[in-house]
């Protein structure tokens, strides 16, 4: 432990391919994708009419999630359209977060002089990943609002010249919408990054035992954050398609 605690706010760049930076977070993202797609491929092909335990559990999860989404949207058609997006957000973040605690992730890496760069880093501990997801959520929310309510009606939510109060509400609406870009991305990044730092610090003080409950807690946080991101996306979509005059 000659180097002490080394905390990097940004994902370490491992190298460049044709000028394209390859960071450890990006590598981990690809690993998560490969795992998820491989699982989906083999699981999707082995679906049976009489389900095994795994299939029954996954079907139970899908059915529950779908029913919940349909209940929030109050529409089966909308639920069908947005289920893939919400489920993918959840699974992508969840698997990335949980994989972070597997042995070797964060501990296997390269030394550049005294600096240590791990080979793998949790995707959500890199702002590029969380911001990308945030953009997807943000644009989905806004585009859905425009598509469902119509451009003029949706714009009327932000620019309201009928009364001073209405105008102020419109300004607040704009700020809160744009604020999502920051809150979505930094909530996920902050939680996961802070968890990593906390485990790192705890491991520095007491390498055995102390990190164990913290790792358990951080795994829980990882699942919760995946759920929060997916559910907030869903709720904001619902808000954007709800006519403000009908909602009250």
């Amino acid at each position: 432990m000659s180097s002490g605690i080394h905390v990097s706010l940004k994902a370490e760049t491992l190298g460049h391919i044709l000028g394209f930076p390859i960071t450890n977070s990006l590598l981990m993202t690809w690993l998560v994708m490969v795992l998820l797609i491989a699982f989906a491929y083999f699981f999707g092909r082995s679906l049976k009419m009489i389900p095994g335990k795994l299939q029954a559990a996954i079907e139970w999860g899908f059915e529950g999630a779908y029913a919940y989404i349909a209940e929030v949207f109050e529409s089966d058609a909308l639920a069908k359209r947005f289920f893939p997006l919400i489920a993918t957000i959840f699974l992508f973040i969840l698997v990335g977060n949980e994989l972070e605690f597997f042995p070797g992730v964060g501990s296997i890496g390269f030394f550049h002089g005294t600096d240590f760069a791990p080979l793998l880093r949790a995707p959500a501990a890199d702002l590029n990943f969380t911001l990308a997801l945030t953009f997807i959520a943000f644009f989905t929310i806004e585009v859905t609002g425009i598509a469902v309510l119509g451009g003029l009606k949706y714009a009327g939510r932000f620019v309201n010249l009928k009364s001073p109060v209405g105008f102020a509400v419109g300004i607040i609406e704009i700020v809160s919408n744009l604020g999502r870009l920051v809150s979505f991305s930094f909530r996920l990044f902050g939680n996961i990054f802070a968890g990593e730092v906390m485990i790192l610090v705890a491991g520095y003080f007491l390498p055995y035992l102390l990190p164990v409950p913290l790792i358990g807690f951080e795994m829980f946080i990882g699942a919760i954050q995946a759920l929060v991101f997916a559910m907030l996306t869903m709720f904001f979509i619902k808000l954007s398609i709800t006519d403000p005059h009908e909602a009250h």
Partner: protein
């Protein structure tokens, strides 16, 4: 702002790469996982519904079959009763006919026997009369010869 981006390691190529990653993952999972699983759930739901419908129909059919069977058995019983009754009736009349026939035959036999007996008696009477006459003639001849 640029300093902030640099501090967090924000780079446009990485951001775009992550956007593309998400798009690929979503498309792949949609076609490999979500759609097949949802289709399976839907198919099973339909199958279960069909099964319940079939079971209801079978129950209905069973009850109608029961009623039909009862009716059939009742009919058969009635028919059987009729057959037995008619058979019994027929047997009764046959018996009477046989008895009557037997009676008639007995009567005719008796009459026949009676007639024959009378005839025999008459014949024997005639024969004995003839004998007597012949004896009388013989006796008369003998008397004359002497």
């Amino acid at each position: 702002m640029a300093a902030l981006f640099a501090a967090f390691g924000l780079q446009l190529p990485l951001l775009i790469a992550q956007l593309v990653n998400f798009a690929i993952l979503m498309i792949a999972l949609t076609y490999l996982l979500y759609k097949p699983v949802m289709k399976t759930i839907e198919a099973r739901k339909q199958k279960v519904a069909q099964g319940v419908l079939d079971a209801e129909e079978a129950t209905k059919k069973l009850s109608t079959a029961d009623a039909e069977a009862t009716v059939t058995v009742q009919q058969a019983e009635k028919e059987a009763e009729g057959i037995v009754a008619s058979a019994r009736e027929e047997a009764g009349s046959e018996k009477m006919r046989i008895v009557k026939e037997a009676d008639a035959r007995a009567a005719s036999i008796a009459a026949d026997a009676d007639a024959r007996a009378k005839e025999t008696a008459a014949k024997s009477l005639r024969e004995s009369e003839k004998e007597i006459a012949r004896l009388a003639i013989l006796a008369a001849e003998k008397a004359m010869r002497t």
